[in-house]
Symmetry: C2
Subunit: 417 residues, 2 copies
């Protein structure tokens, strides 16, 4: 069902980063515990579910994490490690979210942090989990898989890792770019998983960017927030924020020093990171559960960016708009309705609505040249731009979403059958 | 698809109120203009679409209206009339929302206000519309139907009116109660329509309550807000707020005087009004688009009612929770996820979740006695109580919702086929 996602290609090594994945049987251990047959067990070569990412000394890390009050145990442990200079590994598992597991869940994650740290000769480990909520991690099985992960670790392990972190993503997602930052070339490679669902789970977004610039922690953390705001914070599939969302950036200090947020180098690096993060974020939407369309929703002429975002997100979240998009129905009345309930002040007579370049609404009423046939032709595409104008203010904001299909309901309702 | 809605019965006359409905061909005129065949034209006796409600002199009116910035023309005209003592009629049409129609839409509504006023010998008319957005009202056809509406007007016209205001509601909704207010019996009869959809339209909620108490405008307006907060503001089908929502109360001054918000009479009348409004609100949810379950979502132990409402509504709006409810899947992880994203501060370790009386989550983790089979048995019912505890605060709040089914997508996506 993925909407126009290119295959992974041209993934670039980031000096100072090695990745290795192996099969620990997490899904079998977790879902098996609920009495559901393990489908992975029937395949010959079970897909890796445990990934280790190793970093050279001197690497800095930054991250932004879910605001969900039910944040998972690994999220809480990652947050504790933010700003620590000793982190030299990530441990990522799919199949079990280690969420709503209380203190026992934290102890499980700590045990695995400790086990990996011992096997790599010390340092701190950031843990990440995605999958079933409310089930304990199969610690013994995961610990037993660590040597295989380490044996597999290689600097061109990105594609394998991008596959191993998937849950019900239909395609793996990884992207690279290179560009000059100051006097040296900098490489950024990133991977993400999202829109996955394993019983009983939810869309969970994990995204990892690595670059070889040298960026001190406070600067990298600022960069991380700014990049997230321009990329992952602009997407919505169903409006449900996961307990496990993480977006982290590692900088391996092999290339240009970027230690000043006011410098041109900062802007150059930020542009590269945003390029990768935006592409990954859009691929998450394109692989959204049941998605048949990729829709860019933008608002212009707002008084503030917050207002523009509120209008864009309200329209992008509206089930009535999303079902109309699925039906290729140019239902501009629903767009006006959703704009109107965004909690943002505007005058109806200032409103314009466009489907791609087709003006549908002008001055708050249907455009005299608009016809249903013209609207339907635009909506029939699988890539649609929905553009709204709410006044003559200076601010605008764009977000990305998918439509709402039968398959969304099926994926989230009928996976037991 | 309606979930356990009893037939309309025992509707009581409210002295001072007469209702009459007739067919004006609004749907034919409106949808016909879009090139879609008029299905109503093929039936022998087309269903009435235009309703007039007439009030004896001395009646007071109060109302609360959609907050949507794209509020329809009739909503704006009703708001202008709030507090006027000259209103003696309502004119309600289904099939055309007169929304996103600009100044021309207001002029259309004013022309009909004037036409009805002339035919009833003066006074002001509150207009209400529901149906297609963005199309002009068929003014001539509606004006031509007014004499038939007036000829049909009778004090036992509630059932006919409840039918005439429907759009795609599957059943009409009207309720009566009687009770003592002070020394006299007071009658409250109300009707509502909601969850309707006519191409290209959205769920629209119109609700009308009439009582024979004597209530001055400022007191009635306060009562109206309080009753709406306890009833219609507690329901959600899909989170999309219509451009046309209205909740109005008329008091015909034939029975007890209620002129003091601190009096026992005020509380007695409020209780009767809330009883009718709550029953109508719940019937709207039960008739929600594609609904297969009626779900009561409550939050307890919150610091404030606003917090409790935020948690209840976030869970009730969550597409992941709603699809799980449709699947009878006891997916308590999704409930925790949705609670966590409500923007309300709480500790995971204080959280409990119940399906009816079954404790699923205690102290933030799954209850030791909980089993999937126990959860599934509760969720298999078509009436479910989902109860959440977030701490030991004093506040609680209950809302009502439906599940999210294939039919929701079908009704909102495929009605063209």
């Amino acid at each position: 069902m993925a909407v126009n996602i290119p295959p992974m290609q041209g993934l670039l090594v980031v000096p100072g980063v090695r990745l290795g994945a192996a099969y620990a049987g997490i899904k079998a251990a977790t879902v098996g515990a609920l009495g559901v047959p393990d489908q992975a067990a029937s395949t010959d070569a079970p897909a890796p579910d445990t990934t280790v990412v190793l970093f050279d000394a001197g690497t800095t890390m930054a991250g932004v994490f879910t605001q969900n009050r039910f944040s998972a145990a690994p999220v809480q442990l990652c947050q504790e490690l933010l700003g620590s200079t000793t982190v030299n590994a990530w441990l990522i598992n799919s199949g079990n979210a280690n969420a709503a597991t209380g203190e026992a869940g934290k102890a499980d994650a700590r045990e695995l942090q400790q086990a990996l740290s011992e096997q790599i000769g010390g340092g701190a480990v950031m843990p990440f989990s995605t999958g079933v909520i409310g089930e304990r991690l199969p610690v013994a099985a995961m610990r037993a898989a660590l040597p295989a992960c380490l044996a597999a670790a290689t600097d061109d392990g990105w594609a394998a890792a991008a596959r191993a972190i998937m849950t019900t993503d239909t395609v793996p997602k990884a992207v690279s770019v290179q560009g000059m930052v100051g006097q040296a070339k900098v490489t950024v490679t990133g991977m993400a998983k999202g829109s996955g669902m394993i019983r009983p789970d939810m869309a969970t977004l994990l995204s990892y960017l690595c670059c070889d610039a040298q960026v001190p922690y406070p600067v990298l953390q600022r960069l991380c927030r700014e990049v997230a705001d321009a990329s992952f914070n602009r997407l919505t599939v169903d409006g449900d924020t996961s307990t496990n969302d993480c977006f982290v950036i590692a900088a391996t200090a092999k290339s240009t020093l970027v230690d000043d947020a006011q410098s041109p180098e900062y802007q150059q690096l930020k542009a590269l990171l945003i390029e990768v993060a935006t592409e990954l974020a859009q691929r998450i939407v394109r692989d959204g559960e049941g998605a048949t369309k990729f829709v860019t929703v933008s608002t212009e002429g707002a008084k503030s960016e917050a207002d523009a975002l509120a209008v864009s997100f309200t329209v992008a979240h509206s089930p009535l708009v999303k079902t109309a998009l699925f039906a290729s129905d140019p239902n501009w009345g629903r767009v006006c309705m959703a704009m109107g309930r965004a909690g943002v002040g505007f005058e109806q007579s200032d409103v314009a609505v466009y489907f791609d370049d087709l003006c549908v609404v002008r001055a708050g009423v249907v455009h005299e040249a608009y016809t249903e046939a013209l609207g339907a032709a635009v909506l029939a595409q699988d890539e649609i731009k929905l553009r709204m104008v709410v006044g003559s203010g200076p601010a605008s904001a764009e977000v990305w979403t998918s439509d709402f299909s039968y398959d969304y309901v099926r994926i989230n309702a009928e996976y037991r059958s």
